[in-house]
Symmetry: C2
C-alpha cells in the first residue's frame, strides 16, 4: 500500500490554507516517505525491536531526511505518559535544594524523563497553587520538599493518582514515599554532642523555615533538659545568606554571649558567623566553636568551623528519582519511608 496521501492532506488541500497548518514535520510525513503506516513509525521510535530491520532502516532514513521531531505533547496526550516529573522546591537560590534537584535531574534524564520546576518561596499557599498548575501538565510523578502541605494540596495530589515523593524530612504518614532525615534527631544529637564536649555556654543562629525551627526547638529543649542550659537564640529569615550569618552571630555577641559554642542552621550561616567571629578576633574554635549544617560539597574538612552536620544531597536526589521511577513502572516499592540519616563530622582542631 502506498501512503502518498492521507485524508488530512486531502482536506487540507481542499480547504485551501484555512486548516491549522503547523508547518512542522509529523509522523505522517515520515510514514509517507518511508511508505509505511504512521503506527509503524511510532513503533520504530518507541519499540524498535517490534519492527522489521529493513522497515526500520527505511524509516530512520525518512526521519533524518525530513528532520522529524516527535511531539511529546501529542504523545503524552495519547499515551497518558507525559514523561514529565514535577519538582517543587522552596527556592533554587538555596544551594541545598539546587544541588538535590541537580542530582534528581541527572538520574531522571538517564531514564528519559524531564523535570518541570516550581518554586514556592517557602509558602504553603504558593505550593498549593503551584501543585494545581503543574498537575495540569499531567506529570508522571512529583517531588515535594518537606512534609507539611495544605489540605487542598494533599487532596489534589491524591486525586492526581501519581507517585509522590516528599523529601528533606520524615513522617510516619507520607502521601506516598518520603525520603529524608529527622530534624528532631539532629537537634537532639547536636545538643548532646555539645554537652558531651563540655560546653555550657551555647547559642544558636537559626533560619526560620519549618524544618530549621524544629531542629532549633529540640536543640533548645534537649539542652534545657539534660544540661539545664539556657540557649542564646538568634533567628533569621527563611532565606539564609552569608550576611545573615554575620548578623546572627553579632546579635548573640552583642547581647552578652561570650565564649562557647554556636549551632548555625546551615553552612552558609556558619560561614557568615565565622567571618564575624574572625572580624572580632575570636579564636576558632578555642574561644568560639561553630557548628554548621549541610556539608556543602567539600567544605567539611576545609572550613574552620569545629564541626558540621552532614547529610547527603546526592543520595536524596537520586533515590527520590529512583523511587518515582519504580512507582511509575509499577515495581514493588518495599520502603515508603527512607531515612538517609546524617552524621556529625568532627574536624581536627587546628
Amino acid at each position: 500500500m502506498n501512503y502518498t496521501e492521507n485524508s488530512n492532506d486531502a482536506k487540507r488541500r481542499e480547504l485551501g490554507s484555512s486548516t491549522r497548518a503547523t508547518g512542522s514535520v509529523t509522523l505522517n510525513d515520515v510514514a509517507k516517505l518511508a511508505d509505511v503506516s504512521p503506527i509503524t513509525v511510532s513503533r520504530a521510535i518507541n519499540q524498535p525491536n517490534k519492527v522489521a530491520p529493513k522497515t526500520l532502516e527505511r524509516i530512520s532514513q525518512a526521519i533524518s531526511r525530513t528532520g522529524y521531531f516527535p511531539n511529546q505533547l501529542a504523545s503524552g496526550l495519547a499515551s497518558r505518559r507525559s514523561h514529565l516529573i514535577a519538582a517543587i522546591v522552596p527556592t533554587m537560590a538555596n544551594s541545598v535544594h539546587a544541588e538535590t534537584i541537580s542530582f534528581f535531574c541527572d538520574r531522571l534524564r538517564d531514564s528519559g524523563y524531564q523535570v518541570l520546576l516550581g518554586e514556592t518561596g517557602y509558602s504553603e499557599d504558593q505550593e498549593e497553587s503551584l501543585i494545581a498548575t503543574v498537575l495540569s501538565r499531567r506529570p508522571d510523578g512529583i517531588l515535594l520538599t518537606g512534609t507539611s502541605h495544605s489540605k487542598t494540596s494533599r487532596r489534589l495530589l491524591i486525586g492526581a493518582d501519581i507517585p509522590v515523593v516528599e523529601t528533606w524530612d520524615l513522617t510516619p504518614t507520607p502521601i506516598d514515599v518520603v525520603i529524608g532525615f529527622s530534624h528532631q534527631h539532629i537537634g537532639q544529637a547536636v545538643a548532646e554532642y555539645l554537652l558531651n564536649k563540655g560546653y555550657r555556654h551555647i547559642g544558636i543562629v537559626s533560619a526560620s523555615d519549618n524544618r530549621a525551627k524544629i531542629r532549633a526547638r529540640v536543640f533548645i529543649e534537649t539542652l534545657a533538659r539534660h544540661g539545664n542550659i539556657e540557649v542564646a537564640v538568634s533567628f533569621v529569615s527563611e532565606l539564609t545568606n552569608f550576611r545573615l550569618g554575620r548578623e546572627g552571630l553579632a546579635h548573640l555577641l552583642d547581647n552578652g554571649f561570650g565564649e562557647g559554642a554556636v549551632f548555625c542552621s546551615s553552612d552558609t550561616l556558619a560561614q557568615g558567623a565565622l567571618a564575624e567571629a574572625q572580624a572580632r578576633g575570636l579564636l576558632i574554635p578555642d574561644q568560639l566553636a561553630i557548628i554548621g549544617l549541610g556539608d556543602q560539597p567539600y567544605a567539611a574538612h576545609t572550613y574552620p568551623a569545629l564541626t558540621t552536620v552532614r547529610f547527603d544531597r546526592e543520595i536524596m536526589g537520586r533515590r527520590a528519582a529512583e523511587a518515582l521511577l519504580a512507582r511509575i513502572n509499577g515495581e514493588p516499592v518495599t520502603e515508603n519511608c527512607i531515612d538517609i540519616g546524617f552524621s556529625i563530622l568532627e574536624r581536627e582542631t587546628t
Copy 2:
C-alpha cells in the same frame, strides 16, 4: 440544547469498556453539567470576558463540583501554545545559575508559564541532545547559557522557530536575543584595576569553563601588555567549590607566589582561597588581596576579600524572561543584545 450526552459517550457505551477511559474529569463532563457546549467551557476558562456572566457562573460551579483540571497537554497540542519555557544551564549546583533561574521562574510564573529544566554539565554534546529533547515538548521559548553552541544545536533552534535567549555572555551574532556581560571586559577591567592599585605580584585562580577561560586570558594578556607582569596561574575544573579555592591558592603559594593580589573566578573560589590564606596566617588584604566574582547575595560588603566583581543575576533572570515573553507575544523587541554590565565593588579595607 441539552448536552447530556455526546457521540463519544454513545460509542463508549456501545463498545463497552474497551475504549480508552482516563477516569479523569474532562471539559466535556463540565460542559454537560453546566448544560453548555465544551467550547464555551473552554472560553469560560481562557477568555471569561467573552462569556455571559450567568453562563460563567453556571460553568464555574460545574468546575468546582466536578473538581475539573484542565489538561495542558491537550491544550498545548490544540493551540500550539505549550506555556512551557525550557531553561538549559550547565548545572544548578552552581549557585550563579540556580539564582538566575530562580528569578527567571518567578517572572515567568507571573505570566502563566512554567519552566522545563535541563542541565548540560558544561558539555556541548549534552547540550545538543538536551535541546533536541526539550524541543519535542514544543516549548514556547528557550533560555540557553552562554553563546557557544554546536552547529546542530543552532540548526535545531532555528528550525524550532521559537524565541531563544542566550545568557551570561554577549555576542554580535546571537541566535535571537542575548543578555549578559562581556567576559573580555571583565578580564581587562580587573587587570587594569590591579595595575592602578600598584600591584606587581599578581595571580589568578580560575575555573576552566569557556567564560572563565576568556576572562583569564584577557586578564593575563592585559597584565602582560600594560604592566609587563607575568601572572601566576592556577586552573581548576569547571565545577568550582570551596575546597578547590583553597587548593588553587595553595598551588600558587607553594609554587613561589608570595604577597600580592589574586583574582578568583568566582566567589566560591575566593572564599576557599581566603580560608587558605587565613590558615597560613597571611594578612588580608595587606599581604594578600583577593578578588572574587559574582557578588553572591549580600557577600560583597561582608566577606573580607578586597574586592568583588558584581553583576546582577536578578536583572539577568528577569530580563531574559521578559525578552522571551515579549517575543512570544509578538511585541517589537528593540534590543536583541542586552549588556547588563558589571561593576568592581571595592571594599573598605578593615
